[in-house]
Symmetry: C2
Subunit: 160 residues, 2 copies
């Protein structure tokens, strides 16, 4: 494998590792356990699960990888803070969507070369990208990976 393919592989592996950690943090939690807050008065685990799913679902459009699966999540888990919306999707639904979104993203990543990763993402204009070529798909991948880690650091506070 070329150095080019290996560096891309490294970035995708980092995503996979962090997703696996998040799977572990959220999988198999009961509806009651998902009501726990990461700190007093802060986000509940169920909100973080929905929030991460919404953010990852929005990556399909940002990366030009097709239609997203659950645009309805944004109104609950992105544009509103926790507890603003009273009725959330069920735990079973959220856990299934989390897995499905990540599985489809990860499968799509497998087909991308280094050249694909350094292309413009959909959230930046052609003009801005010409000036700032670092605003590419890879930057989205690495930023979203760190975003999961950010919230994972919070989930461990709720659970121990």
């Amino acid at each position: 494998m070329s150095a080019e393919a290996r560096v891309v592989n490294g970035a995708v592996n980092s995503w996979k590792q962090v997703i696996a950690r998040a799977d572990k943090a959220f999988a198999g939690l009961s509806a009651e356990q998902l009501q726990k807050e990461v700190a007093p008065g802060k986000n509940r685990l169920i909100y973080l699960l929905g929030h991460l799913t919404a953010v990852h679902d929005s990556m399909f459009a940002a990366l030009g990888l097709g239609e997203r699966l659950h645009p309805e999540l944004d109104a609950i888990f992105l544009s509103q803070p926790d507890r603003a919306v009273e009725t959330l999707p069920s735990v079973t639904e959220l856990q299934a969507w989390w897995s499905a979104v990540n599985a489809r993203l990860t499968a799509a990543f497998a087909g991308l070369t280094a050249e694909d990763w350094v292309q413009k993402h959909a959230l930046v204009s052609e003009e801005d990208f010409a000036k700032e070529p670092d605003r590419n798909r890879l930057a989205i991948l690495l930023s979203r990976t760190n975003h999961v880690s950010f919230h994972l650091g919070q989930t461990v506070l709720a659970r121990t």
Copy 2:
């Protein structure tokens, strides 16, 4: 710039962004503010600052980038949990070491090519690396970047 160099650039940029966020989270905090816990009974901010500095200082050896600056931090911030050691380095010292370690690492990263990044790191044996070539320097960089994000997610709980 080649796609290969851009991917590497993206990984180093991600590190820089996360370090800048951590700088913001810790810079200018008073000794009293650094005594805050991220959640009741959990790590204090000052411990996280020392912990992250110790982990980053150990990256010099892991990445083969020269001698580390503060090996004495491990006994306080890595092998022991918060509050196990009574007397910590001063806040001024910790903040200066945090900046110095990261500045030196980031400067060293600027000299590494994609080929350098996919070389074996020092924490894996030649045999294991032959079987698992993904255990390279880039994996350490991405993993440590996510480690900062993990703890950053906690620091915001203490501060808001």
